[in-house]
Symmetry: C2
Subunit: 195 residues, 2 copies
């Protein structure tokens, strides 16, 4: 059992509607020592891949991606932005992403300056549920002509469709923790055995 | 001249309307080695302070705050969120913040679980212009009964009012780079001498 799995069982909170709150250590308050361990684990799982860039999405993916980058020779981290900012040039890749958490639809953008043909991309994100955000990032990377070498997720909701869809598309997807089921009545979280 | 100042002069791009684009290394694509140097420099400038928590705001502040936390004994990083998420409990501190970049007004929230009386807070953010975001973070920290020990900014626009206002309020504010003026016609950036 890795450090993230242990932490989810210790501090994760199950809320009604299959919501798993990890905001005491991952996506509101962040434990940087844990983030470092997670970065090291991503390196172990993608040790055979040559990565030139890490792609993530604001906001919760950023810290995880930066921690991972330290273990991949300090490659640049690019984070997709959720709305058009006047500080981004007009020339960008765009994907449309539906948020399970926020119940809305966002345009997700990455400047064409920062993803290129020839890039070998590791995509990192905090949660994988229905896979919409991830498919947006994949679409952006492939629009750039970059190769998606792998996808690293902190917490996969194994009972939702996203992981299966992405793996069926042939991507090398690694999730540090996979929640197979949870119950807010009994406060139980069942993690898939990955050892 | 520190590493951030050097990088701004090398790769910063001046756009009309006093916009300084640092998105090739700081707030869209991120150079994690630079972030690490910035974290080290914040530690040097706040070496005499005992910090129990770092407070920042999504999204661009997160990577800088996490890099800094490594130099402050891995204290937890809390990032304020820009809109109410269904994944945050109702019990939170709220501030209203106007964004110069996005020309809009946001509610900024921090869960009451993650800031407490007795916390000694270092506030970190990427940009300081008119100071609205920063005043929101200060307000949140003080609502919690926490002590703001210092404020670390990556890039201060020295020709806007924010820095002066915050220093006049008595806060220990350190900006790694202070832009005194810039000109998009000549692509010049003048940094305040801090040596």
């Amino acid at each position: 059992m890795n450090c993230l799995e242990e932490r989810i069982l210790k501090d994760g909170v199950v809320k009604p509607g299959n919501v798993l709150k990890v905001d005491s250590f991952l996506n509101h308050q962040m434990d940087v020592a844990l983030l470092d361990e997670m970065g090291k684990e991503f390196k172990r799982r993608f040790a055979d891949k040559t990565i030139t860039k890490i792609l993530t999405i604001e906001a919760s993916g950023i810290a995880i991606a930066c921690s991972a980058a330290r273990y991949f020779n300090n490659v640049p981290v690019v984070f997709a932005k959720k709305s058009k900012s006047i500080n981004i040039d007009g020339d960008m890749y765009v994907a449309t992403v539906e948020s399970f958490t926020h119940k809305n639809v966002n345009q997700v953008v990455v400047s064409k300056r920062y993803l290129n043909e020839g890039d070998h991309v590791l995509i990192i994100d905090d949660f994988l549920a229905n896979g919409c955000a991830l498919q947006g990032l994949i679409s952006i990377a492939e629009s750039a002509g970059a190769k998606v070498e792998g996808i690293g997720i902190a917490v996969e909701k194994g009972f939702q469709i996203g992981g299966k869809v992405i793996r069926n598309m042939g991507y090398h997807l690694e999730s540090l923790a996979i929640v197979d089921s949870m119950d807010d009545q009994t406060s139980t979280i069942n993690l898939r055995d990955q050892d």
